[in-house]
Amino acid sequence: MMNKKQKLLLIRCIVTAVLMIVLHFIPAGGILRFVLYLVPYGIIGYDILRKAWKGIRNRRVFDENFLMAVATIGALVIGLVDNDDYVEAVAVMLFYQIGEFFQSYAVGKSRRNISALMDIRPDYANVEREGRLEQVDPDEVEIGTEIIVRPGEKVPIDGIVTEGSSSLNTSALTGESLPRDIGAGEEIFSGCINMTGVLKIRTTKEFGESTVSKVLDLVENASSRKSRSEDFISKFARIYTPAVCYSALALAFVPPLIGLLLPNASPNWTQWVYRALAFLVASCPCALVISIPLSFFAGIGGASKEGVLVKGSNFLEALSRTGYVVFDKTGTLTQGVFEVTAVHLAEGAPEESRVMELAAYAESASSHPISKSIRSAYGKDIDPDRVAEIREISGGGVVALVDGLEVAAGNAKLMNDLGIPFEKKCELTGTIVHVAIDREYAGHILISDKIKPTSVQAIRSLKASGIKETIMLTGDTRAVAEDVAREIGINRVYAELLPGDKVDKVEELLNGKQKNYKLAFVGDGINDAPVLSRADIGIAMGAMGSDAAIEAADVVLMDDDPMKIVKAIRISRKCLRIVRENTVFAIAVKILALILVALGIANMWIAVFADVGVMIIAVLNAIRALFVRNL
């Protein structure tokens, strides 16, 4: 699909090309020939001439329109006074415009490709009114409204599923292509696509506060801050363009003037003016000016398609230079969910399932995460008639009568208070819940935070891709922290930190690092917003729940898979590599072309080919930054 402007430009290119072929066979000469060639020149170049003129009036001289206008008008004038050749002027304009068309088409196509994927804005929500389904603006749906999402529709607002079950396509949010199952009672995020069943959802947020709105806000607000590469290019263009213009001026006048002064030499005005004009054509910096920002836009766009939201090109650039990755432990490398990981029975105790059952009943009234994890490990429903006399011993645990047995579940203090001898050591680290049945020690249940399945791989990949150091910060005890670090393969651990200590630690690490490497901090957004903003790059993980983290972070990962950190770094490196390639390539070709033109080896045709060719190659290369799926 082409837009109107592109279609018009294409038609102008074709008409001009046809006219040029026709004019080739018309044997007109002199002023008539000039006038005839002005027709295709006008058709192909009117907008360039107008923009150049406007540029001069708005004091924005020396852009590419100006260069092209001066070069082609100059070539026409040379044709008029000297050799009757107007083909070159028209051809230069034609090739320049073909390049523009191609550039705009390729960019437009890839842009639509990506914006379609980011098109997660829901247009309506289905609300039941008087027994009929009505489509209403998501903005008008109040909290607590029941909405219906049919298969194939987008979930418009965050909420809780009250009826139905289905699979969700979350790829627009997380980049994850595997569908996720959902059923009644579960929390559902807007922006997912309902695939199989009808879902009834009770909304828990307004549309503006829902996940989808926040993601859209992030995506659309990206790239407000400019990277150093982009700064470099705009500064470069500011110096470069006037410099070439003055060089061209010198090329046009200095050699002929020297020729005038020397005996036996002719000034040869047309030759030098022609070279100067070709020099202007060759000098056009469009390849750089267009492709560098495009690379960043494409890199950020491609990343957001993968569930990695980067807030600006400066952060993408910083990310590519990451040398140190600092992790918060809980919720980042570990799941932040406590689970029963082992049950160690004492001699003479009943079997494991019985111990778990009694412990679960004893803990049945508590909402503490530890109690919850024991209940979920037990897995069966609790019959409240079987448990009585539940006493919570603050700072210790619980004692209750279960099936007529006195069950005590708690820590070492509780066992000591009850005077029950117990096993003090466990070879595993974690939180220990001792269980005694009728004053007899039955064993202990070990509860720990589980390491995420991809943490080990993520750390290994980070090291393989040249990250100098991985560091873990945690408020947890030293034993637990070191255990986790060893298992994951992290070099350095700082344990038993209070939230405020983490900022200090990061400050310290920032001071101690090598200058040209950046320090990234990865957290899940709970309590670490200050650290996120203090680090060179703050990466918030699975942060859809935490506004503060989204606000403070520079990079937001849509899900909580640590491999996404590796992906983010790889995406940034690819993008920056493309930027470097384009910069070096374009400048090298420019310099070569300028030298060849100045020496008279290359003419205006070669100059325009060099210019347009480099631009097209650079643009195609920049678009490559979009494709990051397989990194």
């Binding site: 924005r60 960019v107 607000n221 990206a222 790239s223 982009e230 836009f297």
Partner: protein, 72 residues
Amino acid sequence: MKKTYKIEVDCANCANLMEEAAKKTPGVRNAVVNFMTQKMIVEFEEGRDASAVMQEVRRNCKKVEEDSEIYL
């Protein structure tokens, strides 16, 4: 107050030029142009009439990039 406008711009650099032009327009506190999604997000200063300011933003953008369009 923040408002989002649909825009049309062909080249990434022109998008950056438009962003600069919009930022310099009186009444605009901040402006962001997203080339990929073809959106301009404008944050207005307190008590300014958005539509009047946007007329000016549009004029300034046309100055730097004639082919651009902002759909008001």
